[in-house]
Protein backbone atom coordinates (compact mmCIF):
# COMPACT_ATOMS: atom_id res chain seq x y z
CA UNK A 1 0.00 0.00 0.00
CA UNK A 2 2.73 2.41 0.88
CA UNK A 3 5.12 2.15 -2.01
CA UNK A 4 4.29 4.71 -4.67
CA UNK A 5 5.60 5.02 -8.17
CA UNK A 6 7.93 7.90 -7.65
CA UNK A 7 8.35 8.49 -3.97
CA UNK A 8 7.88 7.29 -0.46
CA UNK A 9 5.61 8.39 2.32
CA UNK A 10 2.07 9.65 1.96
CA UNK A 11 1.01 11.32 -1.28
CA UNK A 12 -0.99 13.92 0.66
CA UNK A 13 -0.33 15.57 3.99
CA UNK A 14 -2.99 18.09 5.03
CA UNK A 15 -1.70 20.26 7.86
CA UNK A 16 -4.54 22.10 9.57
CA UNK A 17 -6.11 23.47 6.42
CA UNK A 18 -9.16 25.70 6.72
CA UNK A 19 -11.22 27.88 4.41
CA UNK A 20 -13.91 30.47 5.10
CA UNK A 21 -16.13 32.41 2.76
CA UNK A 22 -17.75 35.70 3.78
CA UNK A 23 -20.74 34.11 5.51
CA UNK A 24 -19.76 30.47 6.05
CA UNK A 25 -16.90 28.38 7.33
CA UNK A 26 -16.40 25.98 4.42
CA UNK A 27 -13.79 23.91 6.16
CA UNK A 28 -12.64 24.06 9.77
CA UNK A 29 -8.97 23.21 10.43
CA UNK A 30 -8.44 19.70 9.10
CA UNK A 31 -5.38 17.48 9.27
CA UNK A 32 -5.03 14.10 7.66
CA UNK A 33 -2.82 11.96 5.46
CA UNK A 34 -3.63 10.07 2.31
CA UNK A 35 -1.36 7.21 1.34
CA UNK A 36 -0.41 6.28 -2.18
CA UNK A 37 -2.84 4.08 -4.07
CA UNK A 38 -5.60 4.60 -1.53
CA UNK A 39 -9.13 5.04 -2.88
CA UNK A 40 -10.78 7.59 -0.64
CA UNK A 41 -14.48 8.48 -0.78
CA UNK A 42 -15.55 11.77 0.78
CA UNK A 43 -19.18 11.70 1.92
CA UNK A 44 -21.44 14.17 3.67
CA UNK A 45 -24.53 16.32 3.18
CA UNK A 46 -24.58 19.16 0.66
CA UNK A 47 -22.55 22.10 1.89
CA UNK A 48 -20.42 19.96 4.20
CA UNK A 49 -17.18 21.07 2.53
CA UNK A 50 -16.55 18.16 0.13
CA UNK A 51 -15.99 20.31 -2.93
CA UNK A 52 -13.88 22.81 -0.98
CA UNK A 53 -11.66 20.01 0.26
CA UNK A 54 -11.28 18.50 -3.23
CA UNK A 55 -10.46 21.89 -4.74
CA UNK A 56 -7.76 22.41 -2.15
CA UNK A 57 -6.38 18.93 -2.86
CA UNK A 58 -6.28 19.93 -6.52
CA UNK A 59 -4.63 23.28 -5.82
CA UNK A 60 -7.55 25.09 -7.48
CA UNK A 61 -8.12 27.11 -4.32
CA UNK A 62 -5.64 27.78 -1.53
CA UNK A 63 -6.44 27.24 2.17
CA UNK A 64 -6.74 30.35 4.39
CA UNK A 65 -4.57 28.60 6.95
CA UNK A 66 -2.47 25.48 7.01
CA UNK A 67 -0.96 23.84 3.96
CA UNK A 68 -1.48 21.02 1.53
CA UNK A 69 1.67 18.97 1.02
CA UNK A 70 1.60 16.75 -2.05
CA UNK A 71 4.36 14.26 -2.75
CA UNK A 72 6.54 16.10 -0.21
CA UNK A 73 6.05 19.54 -1.75
CA UNK A 74 3.91 22.48 -0.69
CA UNK A 75 1.01 22.83 -3.11
CA UNK A 76 0.82 26.62 -2.70
CA UNK A 77 4.40 27.20 -3.80
CA UNK A 78 4.18 24.93 -6.81
CA UNK A 79 4.16 26.65 -10.14
CA UNK A 80 1.31 25.38 -12.27
CA UNK A 81 1.92 23.66 -15.56
CA UNK A 82 3.95 20.56 -16.10
CA UNK A 83 4.83 19.77 -12.51
CA UNK A 84 1.31 20.08 -11.18
CA UNK A 85 -0.21 18.36 -14.22
CA UNK A 86 1.87 15.28 -13.43
CA UNK A 87 0.64 15.21 -9.84
CA UNK A 88 -3.09 15.97 -9.82
CA UNK A 89 -5.88 15.69 -12.33
CA UNK A 90 -9.53 16.41 -11.72
CA UNK A 91 -12.94 15.44 -13.09
CA UNK A 92 -16.11 17.28 -12.27
CA UNK A 93 -19.82 16.67 -12.04
CA UNK A 94 -20.60 18.71 -15.13
CA UNK A 95 -17.75 17.19 -17.23
CA UNK A 96 -16.57 20.72 -18.07
CA UNK A 97 -15.58 19.96 -21.64
CA UNK A 98 -15.54 22.50 -24.45
CA UNK A 99 -18.62 21.51 -26.49
CA UNK A 100 -17.47 23.07 -29.77
CA UNK A 101 -14.18 21.19 -29.91
CA UNK A 102 -13.92 17.63 -31.17
CA UNK A 103 -13.58 14.75 -28.72
CA UNK A 104 -9.96 14.41 -29.82
CA UNK A 105 -9.05 18.00 -28.87
CA UNK A 106 -10.89 17.78 -25.57
CA UNK A 107 -8.89 14.69 -24.69
CA UNK A 108 -5.59 16.19 -25.86
CA UNK A 109 -6.31 19.22 -23.63
CA UNK A 110 -5.03 16.91 -20.89
CA UNK A 111 -1.56 17.35 -22.45
CA UNK A 112 -1.58 21.16 -22.29
CA UNK A 113 0.37 21.12 -19.04
CA UNK A 114 3.21 19.28 -20.80
CA UNK A 115 3.16 21.07 -24.15
CA UNK A 116 4.69 24.39 -25.08
CA UNK A 117 2.30 27.11 -26.20
CA UNK A 118 3.54 26.64 -29.75
CA UNK A 119 2.89 22.92 -29.72
CA UNK A 120 -0.57 23.52 -28.23
CA UNK A 121 -1.35 25.87 -31.11
CA UNK A 122 -0.07 23.47 -33.76
CA UNK A 123 -2.07 20.64 -32.23
CA UNK A 124 -5.32 22.42 -33.05
CA UNK A 125 -4.42 22.07 -36.72
CA UNK A 126 -2.38 18.89 -36.70
CA UNK A 127 -3.15 16.90 -33.53
CA UNK A 128 -0.05 16.02 -31.49
CA UNK A 129 0.46 12.75 -29.61
CA UNK A 130 -2.70 11.39 -31.19
CA UNK A 131 -1.84 7.84 -30.13
CA UNK A 132 -2.23 8.82 -26.46
CA UNK A 133 -5.74 10.09 -27.11
CA UNK A 134 -6.70 7.00 -29.12
CA UNK A 135 -5.41 4.71 -26.38
CA UNK A 136 -7.19 6.70 -23.63
CA UNK A 137 -10.48 6.72 -25.54
CA UNK A 138 -10.16 2.98 -26.10
CA UNK A 139 -9.75 2.43 -22.35
CA UNK A 140 -12.71 4.72 -21.69
CA UNK A 141 -14.74 2.68 -24.18
CA UNK A 142 -15.58 5.38 -26.72
CA UNK A 143 -12.82 5.07 -29.29
CA UNK A 144 -15.34 5.40 -32.13
CA UNK A 145 -16.32 8.96 -31.10
CA UNK A 146 -12.83 10.41 -31.53
CA UNK A 147 -13.62 12.81 -34.36
CA UNK A 148 -17.12 13.78 -33.24
CA UNK A 149 -18.03 17.18 -31.94
CA UNK A 150 -18.23 16.87 -28.15
CA UNK A 151 -21.60 18.64 -27.89
CA UNK A 152 -23.23 15.73 -29.73
CA UNK A 153 -22.32 13.18 -27.06
CA UNK A 154 -24.62 12.02 -24.26
CA UNK A 155 -23.88 12.81 -20.62
CA UNK A 156 -22.33 9.41 -19.97
CA UNK A 157 -20.18 9.64 -23.09
CA UNK A 158 -19.01 13.13 -22.13
CA UNK A 159 -17.99 11.85 -18.72
CA UNK A 160 -15.93 9.18 -20.52
CA UNK A 161 -14.24 11.91 -22.57
CA UNK A 162 -13.39 13.72 -19.33
CA UNK A 163 -11.91 10.47 -18.02
CA UNK A 164 -9.88 10.02 -21.20
CA UNK A 165 -8.55 13.57 -20.77
CA UNK A 166 -7.48 12.61 -17.27
CA UNK A 167 -5.80 9.49 -18.64
CA UNK A 168 -3.62 11.41 -21.10
CA UNK A 169 -2.73 13.84 -18.32
CA UNK A 170 -1.46 10.78 -16.45
CA UNK A 171 -1.34 12.38 -13.01
CA UNK A 172 -0.45 10.48 -9.84
CA UNK A 173 -3.67 11.53 -8.15
CA UNK A 174 -7.19 11.47 -9.58
CA UNK A 175 -9.67 13.81 -7.91
CA UNK A 176 -13.34 13.38 -8.77
CA UNK A 177 -15.95 15.86 -7.57
CA UNK A 178 -19.37 14.20 -7.71
CA UNK A 179 -18.36 12.44 -10.94
CA UNK A 180 -21.72 10.69 -11.42
CA UNK A 181 -24.21 13.12 -9.90
CA UNK A 182 -25.88 13.82 -13.24
CA UNK A 183 -26.02 10.21 -14.49
CA UNK A 184 -28.52 7.40 -13.96
CA UNK A 185 -27.60 4.53 -11.57
CA UNK A 186 -26.44 2.04 -14.23
CA UNK A 187 -24.19 4.58 -15.95
CA UNK A 188 -22.94 5.74 -12.54
CA UNK A 189 -21.81 2.23 -11.70
CA UNK A 190 -20.01 1.93 -15.08
CA UNK A 191 -18.25 5.27 -14.71
CA UNK A 192 -17.13 4.75 -11.11
CA UNK A 193 -15.92 1.25 -11.99
CA UNK A 194 -13.96 2.70 -14.90
CA UNK A 195 -12.32 5.36 -12.73
CA UNK A 196 -11.50 2.76 -10.10
CA UNK A 197 -9.95 0.41 -12.68
CA UNK A 198 -7.82 3.19 -14.09
CA UNK A 199 -6.60 4.11 -10.62
CA UNK A 200 -5.89 0.50 -9.72
CA UNK A 201 -4.14 -0.49 -12.95
CA UNK A 202 -1.63 2.32 -12.91
CA UNK A 203 -1.23 2.65 -9.16
CA UNK A 204 -2.85 6.07 -8.87
CA UNK A 205 -4.41 7.55 -5.78
CA UNK A 206 -8.14 8.24 -6.06
CA UNK A 207 -10.09 10.78 -4.01
CA UNK A 208 -13.75 11.25 -4.89
CA UNK A 209 -16.82 12.84 -3.39
CA UNK A 210 -19.90 10.65 -3.82
CA UNK A 211 -23.49 10.43 -2.66
CA UNK A 212 -24.18 6.79 -3.42
CA UNK A 213 -23.41 4.42 -0.55
CA UNK A 214 -23.37 1.24 -2.70
CA UNK A 215 -20.77 2.79 -5.01
CA UNK A 216 -18.65 3.84 -2.04
CA UNK A 217 -18.78 0.35 -0.56
CA UNK A 218 -18.01 -1.37 -3.86
CA UNK A 219 -15.10 0.68 -5.10
CA UNK A 220 -13.32 2.52 -2.28
CA UNK A 221 -10.96 1.54 0.50
CA UNK A 222 -11.44 4.44 2.90
CA UNK A 223 -14.32 6.76 3.75
CA UNK A 224 -14.05 10.30 5.10
CA UNK A 225 -17.27 11.79 6.47
CA UNK A 226 -17.62 15.56 6.55
CA UNK A 227 -20.28 17.55 8.35
CA UNK A 228 -20.48 21.35 8.37
CA UNK A 229 -16.84 21.58 7.36
CA UNK A 230 -15.54 19.35 10.14
CA UNK A 231 -14.33 15.76 10.11
CA UNK A 232 -17.13 13.44 11.31
CA UNK A 233 -15.27 10.18 10.76
CA UNK A 234 -12.33 8.70 8.84
CA UNK A 235 -12.56 4.93 8.58
CA UNK A 236 -11.62 1.96 6.40
CA UNK A 237 -14.63 1.13 4.24
CA UNK A 238 -15.22 -2.16 6.08
CA UNK A 239 -15.85 -0.32 9.34
CA UNK A 240 -18.39 2.12 7.93
CA UNK A 241 -21.79 0.96 9.14
CA UNK A 242 -25.21 2.12 8.03
CA UNK A 243 -25.69 3.69 11.47
CA UNK A 244 -22.64 5.90 11.04
CA UNK A 245 -23.85 7.07 7.62
CA UNK A 246 -27.43 7.65 8.79
CA UNK A 247 -26.12 9.72 11.65
CA UNK A 248 -23.90 11.75 9.31
CA UNK A 249 -26.83 12.77 7.13
CA UNK A 250 -29.70 12.85 9.63
CA UNK A 251 -28.18 14.90 12.41
CA UNK A 252 -28.09 17.86 10.11
CA UNK A 253 -31.78 17.56 9.30
CA UNK A 254 -30.55 16.88 5.78
CA UNK A 255 -33.40 17.49 3.39
CA UNK A 256 -31.84 16.92 0.00
CA UNK A 257 -32.61 13.20 0.23
CA UNK A 258 -29.67 12.12 -1.86
CA UNK A 259 -28.49 9.36 0.46
CA UNK A 260 -29.17 6.10 -1.34
CA UNK A 261 -30.16 3.05 0.70
CA UNK A 262 -27.29 0.72 1.48
CA UNK A 263 -27.23 -2.50 -0.49
Amino acid sequence: MNAGRNGHGPIYCLEGISKSYPDVVALAPLSLEIRREERVAIVGPSGSGKTTLLHMLGGVIQPDQGRVVIDGRNMASMASGREKAGLVGMIHQQFDLVPRLSVLHNVLAGRLGYWSLWRSLISLISPQERHLATEALRKAGIEDKISQRTSRLSGGEQQRVAIARLLVQDSQVILADEPVASLDPTRSEDIVRLIREIAEESGKTLVASLHSVPLVRAHFTRVIGLRKGTLAFDLPVTQVTDDILTELYDLEGNRDGVLSPAS
Binding site: M90, Q94, L121
Partner: protein, 264 residues
Protein backbone atom coordinates in the same frame (compact mmCIF):
# COMPACT_ATOMS: atom_id res chain seq x y z
CA UNK B 1 -12.36 54.38 -12.76
CA UNK B 2 -14.10 51.03 -12.90
CA UNK B 3 -16.84 52.46 -10.72
CA UNK B 4 -17.44 55.48 -12.92
CA UNK B 5 -17.60 53.25 -16.01
CA UNK B 6 -20.22 51.11 -14.33
CA UNK B 7 -22.26 54.21 -13.50
CA UNK B 8 -22.09 55.34 -17.14
CA UNK B 9 -23.34 51.92 -18.27
CA UNK B 10 -26.09 51.56 -15.66
CA UNK B 11 -29.60 51.32 -17.03
CA UNK B 12 -31.09 54.02 -14.86
CA UNK B 13 -28.41 56.53 -15.87
CA UNK B 14 -28.82 55.82 -19.59
CA UNK B 15 -32.63 56.03 -19.31
CA UNK B 16 -32.36 59.42 -17.60
CA UNK B 17 -30.00 60.77 -20.26
CA UNK B 18 -32.24 59.57 -23.10
CA UNK B 19 -35.42 60.95 -21.50
CA UNK B 20 -33.63 64.25 -20.96
CA UNK B 21 -32.59 64.38 -24.59
CA UNK B 22 -36.16 63.66 -25.71
CA UNK B 23 -37.63 66.38 -23.51
CA UNK B 24 -35.00 68.87 -24.60
CA UNK B 25 -35.63 68.21 -28.31
CA UNK B 26 -39.43 68.47 -27.87
CA UNK B 27 -38.91 71.77 -26.07
CA UNK B 28 -36.80 73.14 -28.90
CA UNK B 29 -39.16 72.36 -31.77
CA UNK B 30 -40.85 75.39 -33.29
CA UNK B 31 -44.43 74.11 -33.02
CA UNK B 32 -46.00 77.10 -34.79
CA UNK B 33 -44.71 75.99 -38.20
CA UNK B 34 -46.08 72.89 -39.97
CA UNK B 35 -43.92 69.87 -39.30
CA UNK B 36 -44.33 68.44 -42.83
CA UNK B 37 -43.09 70.54 -45.73
CA UNK B 38 -46.26 71.26 -47.75
CA UNK B 39 -44.61 71.48 -51.16
CA UNK B 40 -42.98 68.06 -50.79
CA UNK B 41 -46.12 66.15 -51.67
CA UNK B 42 -45.64 66.02 -55.42
CA UNK B 43 -42.01 64.91 -55.30
CA UNK B 44 -43.01 62.30 -52.76
CA UNK B 45 -45.52 60.93 -55.27
CA UNK B 46 -42.84 60.81 -57.99
CA UNK B 47 -40.50 59.09 -55.59
CA UNK B 48 -43.05 56.41 -54.71
CA UNK B 49 -44.12 55.93 -58.33
CA UNK B 50 -40.58 55.32 -59.51
CA UNK B 51 -40.29 52.61 -56.84
CA UNK B 52 -42.17 50.42 -59.34
CA UNK B 53 -40.34 51.61 -62.43
CA UNK B 54 -36.65 51.27 -61.63
CA UNK B 55 -34.22 52.06 -64.43
CA UNK B 56 -33.36 48.70 -66.03
CA UNK B 57 -31.49 49.63 -69.22
CA UNK B 58 -28.43 47.37 -69.75
CA UNK B 59 -25.97 50.26 -69.62
CA UNK B 60 -27.35 51.51 -66.30
CA UNK B 61 -27.47 47.97 -64.86
CA UNK B 62 -23.80 47.61 -65.78
CA UNK B 63 -23.04 50.86 -64.00
CA UNK B 64 -25.03 49.78 -60.92
CA UNK B 65 -23.22 46.43 -60.90
CA UNK B 66 -19.84 48.14 -61.00
CA UNK B 67 -20.86 50.50 -58.20
CA UNK B 68 -22.08 47.51 -56.17
CA UNK B 69 -18.75 45.81 -56.70
CA UNK B 70 -16.88 48.89 -55.46
CA UNK B 71 -19.10 49.11 -52.38
CA UNK B 72 -18.59 45.42 -51.54
CA UNK B 73 -14.85 45.82 -52.01
CA UNK B 74 -14.83 48.74 -49.57
CA UNK B 75 -16.81 46.76 -47.00
CA UNK B 76 -14.63 43.65 -47.29
CA UNK B 77 -11.40 45.63 -47.09
CA UNK B 78 -12.72 47.66 -44.15
CA UNK B 79 -13.79 44.56 -42.19
CA UNK B 80 -10.46 42.89 -43.00
CA UNK B 81 -8.76 45.74 -41.18
CA UNK B 82 -11.36 45.90 -38.42
CA UNK B 83 -11.16 42.21 -37.41
CA UNK B 84 -7.43 42.15 -36.53
CA UNK B 85 -7.78 45.51 -34.74
CA UNK B 86 -10.81 44.22 -32.85
CA UNK B 87 -9.22 40.87 -32.00
CA UNK B 88 -5.95 42.25 -30.68
CA UNK B 89 -7.38 45.23 -28.79
CA UNK B 90 -10.38 43.19 -27.64
CA UNK B 91 -8.04 40.59 -26.13
CA UNK B 92 -6.11 43.27 -24.27
CA UNK B 93 -9.33 44.98 -23.15
CA UNK B 94 -10.77 41.69 -21.87
CA UNK B 95 -7.79 41.34 -19.53
CA UNK B 96 -7.85 37.54 -19.70
CA UNK B 97 -4.15 37.18 -20.43
CA UNK B 98 -2.84 39.38 -17.64
CA UNK B 99 -2.65 38.70 -13.94
CA UNK B 100 -5.25 40.40 -11.71
CA UNK B 101 -4.09 43.59 -10.10
CA UNK B 102 -3.88 47.34 -10.47
CA UNK B 103 -1.76 47.10 -13.61
CA UNK B 104 -4.37 44.98 -15.38
CA UNK B 105 -7.16 47.39 -14.43
CA UNK B 106 -5.22 50.32 -15.84
CA UNK B 107 -4.49 48.50 -19.11
CA UNK B 108 -8.10 47.32 -19.44
CA UNK B 109 -9.63 50.74 -18.79
CA UNK B 110 -7.12 52.48 -21.07
CA UNK B 111 -7.78 50.04 -23.92
CA UNK B 112 -11.54 50.28 -23.48
CA UNK B 113 -11.31 54.07 -23.53
CA UNK B 114 -9.20 53.96 -26.68
CA UNK B 115 -11.75 51.65 -28.33
CA UNK B 116 -14.53 54.00 -27.24
CA UNK B 117 -12.75 56.99 -28.74
CA UNK B 118 -12.09 55.43 -32.14
CA UNK B 119 -15.63 54.12 -32.50
CA UNK B 120 -17.34 57.25 -31.21
CA UNK B 121 -16.15 59.13 -34.28
CA UNK B 122 -18.47 58.18 -37.12
CA UNK B 123 -16.95 56.49 -40.19
CA UNK B 124 -18.12 59.43 -42.31
CA UNK B 125 -16.12 61.84 -40.16
CA UNK B 126 -13.09 59.56 -40.29
CA UNK B 127 -13.56 59.41 -44.06
CA UNK B 128 -13.62 63.22 -44.33
CA UNK B 129 -10.48 63.42 -42.20
CA UNK B 130 -8.68 60.82 -44.31
CA UNK B 131 -9.85 62.43 -47.55
CA UNK B 132 -8.34 65.66 -46.27
CA UNK B 133 -5.10 63.84 -45.50
CA UNK B 134 -4.86 61.30 -48.35
CA UNK B 135 -7.03 62.81 -51.04
CA UNK B 136 -9.91 60.97 -52.71
CA UNK B 137 -8.21 57.59 -52.54
CA UNK B 138 -9.97 54.31 -51.72
CA UNK B 139 -7.55 53.99 -48.80
CA UNK B 140 -9.36 56.87 -47.05
CA UNK B 141 -12.67 55.00 -47.09
CA UNK B 142 -11.17 51.67 -46.14
CA UNK B 143 -9.25 53.13 -43.19
CA UNK B 144 -12.35 55.00 -42.02
CA UNK B 145 -14.37 51.79 -42.00
CA UNK B 146 -11.58 49.69 -40.52
CA UNK B 147 -10.92 52.02 -37.61
CA UNK B 148 -14.55 52.62 -36.60
CA UNK B 149 -15.51 48.98 -36.95
CA UNK B 150 -12.31 47.86 -35.24
CA UNK B 151 -13.40 49.92 -32.24
CA UNK B 152 -16.86 48.38 -32.26
CA UNK B 153 -15.65 44.79 -32.75
CA UNK B 154 -12.94 45.17 -30.09
CA UNK B 155 -15.43 46.22 -27.47
CA UNK B 156 -17.88 43.40 -28.30
CA UNK B 157 -15.12 40.75 -28.65
CA UNK B 158 -13.82 41.72 -25.20
CA UNK B 159 -17.26 41.23 -23.67
CA UNK B 160 -17.84 37.91 -25.44
CA UNK B 161 -14.41 36.58 -24.43
CA UNK B 162 -15.10 37.61 -20.83
CA UNK B 163 -18.54 36.06 -20.70
CA UNK B 164 -17.79 32.44 -21.71
CA UNK B 165 -18.76 29.83 -19.07
CA UNK B 166 -16.11 29.48 -16.42
CA UNK B 167 -16.25 25.77 -15.61
CA UNK B 168 -14.49 24.42 -18.75
CA UNK B 169 -11.76 27.03 -18.25
CA UNK B 170 -11.20 25.90 -14.66
CA UNK B 171 -10.94 22.32 -15.87
CA UNK B 172 -8.26 23.33 -18.39
CA UNK B 173 -6.32 25.26 -15.74
CA UNK B 174 -6.49 22.29 -13.39
CA UNK B 175 -4.78 20.16 -16.03
CA UNK B 176 -1.90 22.64 -16.03
CA UNK B 177 -2.79 24.93 -18.93
CA UNK B 178 -1.49 28.51 -18.93
CA UNK B 179 -3.87 31.39 -19.66
CA UNK B 180 -2.74 31.50 -23.31
CA UNK B 181 -3.55 27.81 -23.69
CA UNK B 182 -6.87 28.33 -21.87
CA UNK B 183 -7.58 31.02 -24.47
CA UNK B 184 -6.80 28.69 -27.38
CA UNK B 185 -8.57 25.59 -26.05
CA UNK B 186 -11.37 27.17 -24.03
CA UNK B 187 -12.25 30.82 -24.46
CA UNK B 188 -11.92 31.14 -28.24
CA UNK B 189 -13.75 27.91 -29.15
CA UNK B 190 -16.49 28.81 -26.65
CA UNK B 191 -16.75 32.38 -27.96
CA UNK B 192 -16.30 31.64 -31.66
CA UNK B 193 -19.89 31.36 -32.85
CA UNK B 194 -20.99 34.53 -31.02
CA UNK B 195 -17.97 36.42 -32.34
CA UNK B 196 -18.60 35.18 -35.85
CA UNK B 197 -22.27 36.08 -35.95
CA UNK B 198 -21.57 39.52 -34.54
CA UNK B 199 -18.80 40.04 -37.12
CA UNK B 200 -21.22 39.14 -39.90
CA UNK B 201 -23.79 41.55 -38.54
CA UNK B 202 -21.11 44.23 -38.54
CA UNK B 203 -20.14 43.28 -42.09
CA UNK B 204 -23.73 43.98 -43.08
CA UNK B 205 -23.48 47.39 -41.42
CA UNK B 206 -20.17 47.94 -43.19
CA UNK B 207 -21.81 47.36 -46.57
CA UNK B 208 -24.37 50.07 -45.80
CA UNK B 209 -21.69 52.36 -44.43
CA UNK B 210 -19.54 51.77 -47.51
CA UNK B 211 -22.47 52.77 -49.70
CA UNK B 212 -22.91 55.97 -47.72
CA UNK B 213 -19.17 56.71 -47.97
CA UNK B 214 -19.87 57.30 -51.65
CA UNK B 215 -21.52 60.57 -50.72
CA UNK B 216 -18.12 61.87 -49.67
CA UNK B 217 -17.05 61.24 -53.25
CA UNK B 218 -15.35 57.88 -52.72
CA UNK B 219 -17.26 56.02 -55.43
CA UNK B 220 -19.58 53.05 -55.22
CA UNK B 221 -23.34 52.97 -54.76
CA UNK B 222 -23.42 56.12 -52.65
CA UNK B 223 -21.78 58.26 -55.29
CA UNK B 224 -24.13 56.97 -57.99
CA UNK B 225 -27.19 57.51 -55.76
CA UNK B 226 -26.08 61.06 -55.14
CA UNK B 227 -25.52 61.77 -58.85
CA UNK B 228 -28.94 60.35 -59.75
CA UNK B 229 -30.60 62.28 -56.94
CA UNK B 230 -29.01 65.50 -58.14
CA UNK B 231 -30.62 64.92 -61.54
CA UNK B 232 -33.93 63.88 -59.87
CA UNK B 233 -33.73 60.48 -61.65
CA UNK B 234 -35.64 58.63 -58.95
CA UNK B 235 -35.98 55.45 -61.03
CA UNK B 236 -32.18 55.22 -61.13
CA UNK B 237 -32.02 55.83 -57.38
CA UNK B 238 -34.35 52.92 -56.81
CA UNK B 239 -32.35 50.59 -59.03
CA UNK B 240 -29.26 51.40 -56.99
CA UNK B 241 -31.14 50.90 -53.71
CA UNK B 242 -32.40 47.52 -54.93
CA UNK B 243 -28.81 46.50 -55.52
CA UNK B 244 -27.92 47.62 -52.01
CA UNK B 245 -30.78 45.57 -50.52
CA UNK B 246 -29.63 42.65 -52.66
CA UNK B 247 -26.14 42.71 -51.14
CA UNK B 248 -27.51 42.84 -47.61
CA UNK B 249 -29.76 39.84 -48.27
CA UNK B 250 -26.85 37.92 -49.79
CA UNK B 251 -24.61 38.67 -46.80
CA UNK B 252 -27.39 37.56 -44.47
CA UNK B 253 -27.87 34.27 -46.33
CA UNK B 254 -24.14 33.64 -46.38
CA UNK B 255 -23.75 34.30 -42.65
CA UNK B 256 -26.66 32.09 -41.61
CA UNK B 257 -25.38 29.28 -43.85
CA UNK B 258 -21.93 29.56 -42.30
CA UNK B 259 -23.29 29.71 -38.76
CA UNK B 260 -25.46 26.67 -39.36
CA UNK B 261 -22.42 24.72 -40.49
CA UNK B 262 -20.44 25.82 -37.45
CA UNK B 263 -23.11 25.11 -34.88
CA UNK B 264 -24.28 21.70 -36.09
Amino acid sequence: MAFSLRLLESRRFITLVLLGALAWSAYNINWSEPIVHSGGGSSLVTLVKSLFTPELSPSFLKLALEATWVTIAYAVAGISIAVPIGLSLGLVASGVLTKPGAQRRVVMVATRLFLAVIRSIHELVWALLFVAALGLSPMAGILALGITYGGILGRIYADIINDVPDAPLKALRSSGASEWKVLLYGRLPLALSDMLSYTFYRFECAVRAAAVLGFVGLGGLGLEIQLSLDDLFFDEVWTLLYFLVGIIILVDLWSSALRKRLVS
